[in-house]
Symmetry: C2
Subunit: 164 residues, 2 copies
DNA sequence: TTAGATGCAAATGGTTTGCATGCGT
DNA sequence: ACGCATGCAAACCATTTGCATCTAA
């Protein structure tokens, strides 16, 4: 029911593999994640570090909360889905991620926080970066008294002649 | 409980004002709406015509489902919120509206279906058209085998020095 | 007459929140 | 030790859906 129960489940598995052993491997150093979290003004807790390792392991990515949750489970990281949501929101607020909302259901989190446009493949529900920088040579000024806090460009594309 | 009950409520009011009397005034001719719906391949039912009149009455607008629902109520148009949602979706699919999603909660419907960017005023939850056409002189080509089905540019802006 | 439209309630589903417990500093 | 983090379930809430009823053609 509480946090303990999840640890108990893990504990049953740990009879052969103690708690402190690296049960998971994200391919990205915990040290750099800890530094990154500290620089962003966040306490580097275990969950945050592990999730950050998953997120920033292999270049830039587009991840949904559920995707990250599943990766965590596979990596034997005990974490609740709600915590994944909260952590992703916190990372976003801290500037480590950008939230992208291509459709009205799920939202994606982009590890590339620079302003850049996306292709959204409707049928496949996939996000792809558009590398063209030309698109931003003429960005608008914000209204007087305002500043741009975010800029989203989503080019929704679909297969031609989908044969309906 | 069923569709009847709502009609009964309306009927009670109609003892002094019969069904066919114009209890509402939207400021936009029903005839042009009917034409418009027909051209879009939709049957011009009463609810659709009335909602279209509200939508297209005064130039281009950004409307949420709830806003339109409230306008309908004020105009004495008996309509269910779910029908407003459905109708807005149908109009969008028919190309009469464009759906804009500045945040992850409500979505807006824009009566200007041409591709154009928006300012989104975060604190005020308001959408404003950006007239700059320059922004689109260098739009990207879709990926090979794909076509652009929608293009959303949302420039999220907030007050400078909001004094937190 | 009949396929499509509508009303309403209930379901849906991603996301957030409340609160008790756990953990970083 | 203190105060933030976390787990979990329950709340939340815009939107969709199911189904009976109605209506435009």
């Amino acid at each position: 029911m509480d946090g303990r129960s999840a640890n108990k489940v893990a504990g049953a598995r740990e009879t052969a593999q103690p708690e402190f052993a690296p049960r998971h491997w994200t391919g990205y150093s915990a040290k750099s994640c800890i530094r990154r979290l500290r620089e962003a003004g966040m306490r580097p807790t275990r969950r945050r570090v592990l999730l950050a390792q998953l997120l920033f392991a292999r270049g830039h990515r587009h991840v949904t909360a559920e995707m990250l949750f599943n990766e965590a489970i596979e990596a034997h990281i005990e974490v609740a889905l709600a915590t994944v949501y909260n952590t992703l929101s916190q990372f976003t607020q801290a500037g480590l991620l950008h939230r992208v909302m291509p459709n009205r259901s799920r939202s994606c989190f982009d590890t590339d926080t620079r302003i850049h446009p996306h292709f959204y493949l409707v049928g496949e529900d996939t996000l792809i970066d558009i590398p063209e920088k030309r698109l931003f040579e003429q960005m608008p000024e914000a209204l007087p008294g305002y500043e741009i806090s975010r800029l989203d460009i989503i080019v929704q594309i679909r297969r031609t002649r989908p044969d309906i």
